[in-house]
Structure formats: C-alpha cells, structure tokens
Assembly symmetry: C2
Homo-oligomer: 480 residues x 2
C-alpha cells in the first residue's frame, strides 16, 4: 500500500479521491456488502473529532442525546405520504428474524422521523412539554445505486436532531440556528467555506415544508451538500398525531424540525484540502497535530537525538515515530499521506545547533526554529495552516462562482463538467422555485443547489425560464 501511487487530480479527480482515501488510512471499500465501506483508524478519528465539535454545540444549545431503535415497522413509513414516496426505493427490509418470517417486516432506518413521531405522540401532551429537543448519533441505511466512499454509501454514520415546538416561528428559528452551527463547524473547524441556503421545493426532504442546507465547493468545482436542516411544519405531527394543549387551552399539532450531518462531511473535507501527495487535514480535525521523526545514522547519534526528541515531543504533546527498520524518508512519506499537519524533523546537527525543523503538510515548506521556540512556533504554524486552508478554499469558491443570465449560458458553463474531469462552477442565475423550471437543468445533469439565505449577488431579476420576477439569484451546479 505504501508504495502505491496517487493519481494526479488533473488526470482523474475521482480516481485521485479514491487513492487519497485509501492511502490516508481513512476508509476502504467493503465490496462484500453492497456500497459499504470500512472506516479505518485515521478516518474514524477524524469523525470522532467532528462529533465532539458538533455534540458540544448541540448540548450548549439545549439538546439532549437519546437513542431510538434501528428497526422501524414498515407501516410507519407510509403514514406521511411524501416521506414514503421519497424513501421507499432505498429501503433495506428485514423479513426474517429469530428463525421465523415476520408478520410485519421492519425497515432499517433510512432516517428516524417516523419512529420518533410515534414517541413524540406519547411524550407530548401540553405546551409545558415543549420544546423537546433531541439528537441521536446513529447508523443509517439507504440502498444507493452509485456509491463513493464517505460521499454516498449504503450505510453511513450521522447525527439526526429531532425537535418539537409550539409554534412555527420557534421551529423555523431552530432549523436556522442549527444551520448556523453546521456552517460554523464547516468553516471554523473544517476550514471548508459553505453557502447557507434553502433547498428548492423539488430538492427538499420528503415530508418537509422547506429544507435548508450548507453547500460546499470541491476542488473539481462540484457542489457537495454538507448538512441539511428541515422545517417539517406540522406534517409529521399530523401523521403521528402529536397534539398538545396550547397555553390558551386549545389542541394543536406540534411544529417539528429535523437536521443531520454525516460521515459525508469527511468526503468534503478530503476534496477541499487534499493534494496530489495525499491527505491534507486542517489542524482542528487532525487526529495527530504533529509527529516527530528523529534522524540518526550511528548509535551515538541516536542517543543524543532521542533524548532531545523525547523532551520536545512531550512539550509539544505529539508522538515520536521511533519505528525501527524504517528510513526517515519512508516515515515522512507515511505521515504525508495521512495528512498530519506538521512533521518535525530532528537530526544530530539540529540537536548540536539547538534547532529543529518544522515542515508544513499543506505547503511543504520547512522552517528551522530554535528548540526553545519550538512549542510557540508549532502552535503558530498550526493556526496559520488552519487559516490558510480556509483562505485557499474560499478563494477557490469565489473564483469559481460565476453569473449567467440565460439557460444557454448556464448549460454552456456546466455541460462538460464531470466528477472525473472537474471544471465545475457555482453558477448564479435567476430561476423560479418551480420543479418545471428545474427539470430543464436535468438535460445537462445540473441542479439548483440552494437559494442563498444572504443575497450574495446583485439582487432581484427575471427567471431565465419563465421571465417572472424572482427576488435573488440561485446557485446552480453539478453536484455529488
């Protein structure tokens, strides 16, 4: 594995991605289980870092973690008409259990609105029981036809928040507060700039009034929907009879939200920052911020180098790669592919001079600093890498955002874009939020990614299909 080459991005972006994932010890395909992957140690550690960032923020905003069953009675899915239509084709169904054919099959959760709706109807009687703000960390199965590690897998890991409120206003506030949390973690932690927006009616979650999402741009210019937050209105409240007595003594259905981010984020992280040498991780999500590679040839060199190395590693809170029988070169290669932000080189000459070399993974540049300053310089470098990765990605997003004012123009920009070849753009244009208009984009496999919440462009205009007035430009792109 360590010997394998990474396909350059310019040659085949999709092949590059697969190589980076595999050689970065992030995941590997589990082709014996259709469309599934094994999340390997480095990948899972990144997921744990992301979980902590989200979980802390959910708890700080009053959410509690709980756990609902994996299996859902098949009949539950049918209670919300749009929901069953949206998810039916993707279900995995348990028909046999404990050696017997089941009277009613269970589906493996493709999402948990239905089973949670059932329990909400048990738990909620009065406005005093509201808001109810729950979250669960869980695995999900959706039988997908085309899969790619992290980006779209039959099974994936996610969190799903489910909340119930006494008014639509409060539910909408919640949905948008969560969208802000998603954007904050994406930008501040993952260094991945995103556009917050509403999904169009034809792209919304099956059963929602309106869905909101954060959309990121990958290095090939394709869009990645990186997190969604849904205003469910009273649809599930009605379907599962979740009624409450209002302060005024009337009966009403609860207003619900649901929202989720998944291991898909890791795919986004990889396609935002990594390069032709392999994985690049922003320091805030990197399982190892740095690693120290000691360099020596003779035994007497070893003693002096290792003594200084141990002190330094302890001071920086990092590990020493002291594997025997591996050259320093093969160690550098090893950590480079795994995306460790800073590799610290320490040889006998460095020790003699009281210096140490810090090498940045993102730029490849080496900085010689004094041992006394090493900790300060290391932390400064981590901060700088985090900031630079964001700036680079933000610049890319800006440079690949373009305006178009006719369908022909949009098509010309996006027609030849593929995940493999790249060249994708975020095309800002005026388009009515109408499935009939959006259907015209299918001819060249593009979609409306979102209607940005902020007006990032030049305001109102006329729809490129119907000529009707629309208040702002939408984002059209090819997407994962």
């Amino acid at each position: 594995m360590a010997e394998s080459k990474i396909t350059p991005r310019a040659q085949d972006f999709a092949a590059w991605y697969q190589d980076v994932v595999m050689q970065g010890d992030m995941a590997e395909p589990a082709e014996i289980v259709k469309g599934c992957m094994v999340i390997k140690a480095n990948g899972y550690a990144v997921w744990e870092a992301l979980q902590r960032e989200f979980d802390d923020r959910f708890k700080a905003t009053g959410h509690q973690n709980v756990y609902f069953p994996l299996l859902i009675p098949q009949s539950f899915l049918k209670k919300e008409a749009e929901h069953v239509e949206g998810f039916s084709p993707e279900l995995a169904v348990v028909t046999i259990a404990g050696g017997k054919e089941l009277e009613e099959p269970y589906v493996i959760r493709p999402t948990s609105e239905t089973i949670i709706g059932h329990f909400f109807s048990r738990w909620i009687q009065s406005w005093r029981d509201l808001p109810l703000m729950l979250n669960q960390w869980a695995n999900i199965i959706r039988w997908e036809l085309r899969t790619r590690m992290f980006l779209r897998t039959t099974e994936f890991l996610w969190q799903e928040g489910h909340t119930a409120h006494s008014s639509h206003e409060e539910a909408l506030d919640e949905a948008l507060r969560i969208l802000d949390i998603y954007a904050e973690v994406a930008e501040d932690v993952m260094a991945m700039p995103v556009i917050k927006g509403a999904k169009t009616l034809s792209e919304k979650f099956a059963g929602a009034l309106r869905s909101y999402a954060i959309e990121a741009m990958m290095q090939n210019g394709l869009a990645l929907q990186a997190g969604t937050s849904h205003d469910l209105g009273q649809n599930f409240g009605r379907a599962f009879e979740v009624q409450f007595q209002t302060k005024e003594g009337k009966l009403d259905y609860v207003w619900q939200t649901s929202w989720g981010v998944s291991t898909r984020l890791i795919g986004g992280l990889i396609m935002t920052h990594s390069d032709d040498k392999g994985l690049v991780l922003p320091p805030k999500v990197a399982p190892m911020k740095g690693v120290l590679v000691p360099i020596y040839r003779k035994d007497e060199e070893r003693t002096a180098v290792m003594e200084t190395a141990r002190k330094l590693a302890q001071d920086l809170g990092i590990k020493i790669d002291d594997r025997e029988g591996q050259t320093p070169g093969s160690k550098f290669f090893h950590w480079e592919r795994r995306g460790v932000p800073v590799v610290i080189e320490l040889g006998p000459r460095d020790v003699a001079a009281g210096n140490v070399v810090l090498k940045r993974r993102d730029t490849g540049t080496k900085h010689t600093v004094s041992l006394a300053e090493a900790r300060h310089e290391f932390e400064k470098m981590l901060d700088q890498i985090q900031r630079d990765l964001y700036s680079t990605a933000k610049k890319r997003l800006n440079e690949n955002s373009v305006q178009a004012n006719s369908l022909a123009e949009v098509e010309k920009i996006l027609r030849d874009v593929t995940a493999e070849r790249g060249g994708g753009k975020f095309v800002f244009t005026h388009l009515k939020d109408d499935p009939a208009c959006e259907a015209r984009l299918k001819e060249f496999k593009a979609t409306v990614r979102c209607i940005p919440l902020a007006d990032e462009q030049d305001g109102a205009g006329t729809c490129i299909i119907t000529g009707e007035h629309v208040p702002k430009r939408v984002v059209i792109a090819k997407a994962y």
Copy 2:
C-alpha cells in the same frame, strides 16, 4: 409520570427495576419493535460517561477505533461452525433491499468476528502487521425471546474489540488485560464489585477457545455477566484464512481476541445501587453531579436567593433548577428519581446565615455547610458517596457468597430464587468444567457463572457430581 409510584424492591424486584428505569428517564420499552427500547436522555448520558471511561483506557493501551458494516453476508456466519450454531437462532435477516429480493441475504451483525475476519485476511500478511488492535462502538441485533430494558434487548449498543496477534501467549495477555480494564471501570467508576473469571466450556462464546467475564451481583442476589473477553485461539484465523509470515519465515494463522461491554452495564448499575425512591447513580457516571434547588416564597426573597444561587452553582459547576411553577418539593422528587448524587438546597435563611444544605441521594442525609466551604464539602461528599456505594455493594456480595459441598445443598440454596422474589446467592462449590456436570444445574435454572481467576475460597476439592479432583471452587448462581 412524576406522580407514579415505584414498586418496592421487597414486593417485586423485577417491577421495581422497570419503574426505576422508566421514572429515572433512563429508557422506555419500544414495544412496536420487538424487544427494543428507547434510551432516554438520562440513560444515554450515563452511556456516554461509560463510553469515555472505556474509550480512554482502550486508546491508552494501543487500540484504535474503526467502523465495520452493519450488514454481514449470511454465508460469512457459516465459516466458523460453532459460531453459526450459536448465533443462527438470533439473527435478523435482510432479504429485500432497494425494492428487490437479494440474491444473498444479509444478517444484521449479532457480533462482528466474521466480517472483521474477512478484512484481517486482507490486511495481515506479515508479523510486522501484528498486533492489530481495533475497537468499534456499534449497535447489535440479537433476536431474544425474553427481554428486559438494558439487560437483554433485541438491539443494544456496545463496543467490540477485535485484535490479532502472532502468538497465543500475546493474545491471552490481551484478553486478560481487557478483563482488567472492564473490572477497573466496573469497580472504580461504576462502584460495582465484580468477580473476574473464566466461563466454563458450555458457557463460552461460540467460536472461542475460552471466554473470560466479569460477574456482578445484583441486589436480588442474581448474577449479571457484565463484560466478556474471549481468547479466540486460531479458530477465526483458520475460518477466514488470516495467515501471516512469522519472523522465522513460516506461515501461521493469527491468534485473535474479541471483547465487549454493552448498554447492559447500565442495567447492572441500576440494580446495584438504586433504592425504593428510584435511581441512585455513583458520582463518576452521573450526568449531573449535583443540582441546586433555590427556595423562596416572596419576590424579595427570590432576588437574594437567586444571586447567591448563581454564584454557588457556577462555583460548583452545577445547574440551578429555576423552573417556575414547580414547588421545591416537586423538584426534589424530580431529581431524586433521576439519581442526582447531591441536591443543594438554598433558602433565604441559608443565605442570611451564609450556609447551604447538601443532601446525599444515597443516604438521604442533609449536611449544612458554610457557603465558603461549599465547594470543598460538595467534592468531599461526591467522593464519599462513590466510596460508600462501592462498600455497600461489596458487603452485599460478601454476605451473599456462600459455600456448598453437594448438589443438594446448591439446589436448596438456589431453588426458589427468582428475579422477582430475589434471595439469590453466589454459591461457591467444586464442580468439574464439563457440560454434563453443568447440565445438572439446569433442573433448578442455575448456571456456573465463572471459575474465578483468583482463588477466593479454600482451594482444591472434589467435584460434587463426579467426585474428581478440581483445583478451585466455581461460582454458581441464578443469573440475568
């Protein structure tokens, strides 16, 4: 719910347990999904606390977290003969996915030795790849006939460690090191004394050479197997062709271990410490160590009390229960049922006197301390509760451990014991590790819980069935 009574332990221990679980906001049955439960906020927070304790220890001993697929090709289970026999009756089977009948059905993992064996065979070629020490946090489904919340549910959450080694000695060391970690968390964190021992051949894991377990005693004297660690020998290595080149250049099968603890631990925690008033939690796993209940009648009292309360709560790192429209009495009741170790009462007279009242959940005793000493006294009280809960449970274990020297004696002690009535004992007797001998215990529904690793009794003796020499007494009990 808050008005419901808790069945006293003496009346019906099983009903008491169910009441404590429900009213402690720990879980509730999800009877729409056979044998499943919803883990509620307090229960899940305890699980998170336990996860952190175990996870830190696994990582400190060189294990890495990963994630393998939920679904396993049905044929995989059949590769290890004992394994398929052990798990077949409990499998949930996915036969339909994506709208189509599957050519080969998948089972939902009842444990992951088989799918991990498949990947080990890909990843391990040489002694340099060993040891490989992985762990995953996951959900599991085993179709159980009789279920009880936390103790035995169709779906449960657990961690499963899977390691591969180049020698049997190293694998056995690993299995026993993990057993030590399990015992340490059980005793030092959960305040639940356990006996470490080997399972008999008829009680071992399907596919293992030998299983080890920690066994705890519940308040009704029944045993609870609280964690298991398996020496798998080369059984799965052979079944999945996990071969490696030894240092000497030969080919050999790897030596494996697997080990797990699950949400079942929470059931053990509850049945070890809780009382007729509801849940009791040891401070180290309590999601809230304490809560402050302010007491006031008039508005002018409120201002003074709340000002002091806010400072104190911040100092102690706890929350204030400032819910309006609830009496202090109903708040005390609320937190008592949820097992919060220390409730802090603060009224106008306390504020005037510079005092505060700390009430212990376990003993119900109140301690008036000065505000200046509150933090110190609070922390001292938490330490004391943690120690006292352990001592009480340890004393119970000792008092209910008895020796017997004939089958008739064992039967007399255990015959009338049930989960509902209680009266259980750990009966130490000499019995040969032979399924034929153990079968005799089935007549009165007892089992050998373990062959203790330490010789806790009087050494060797003659088997009460065969009269053969056996090196030490085993533990016989009725069990969950």
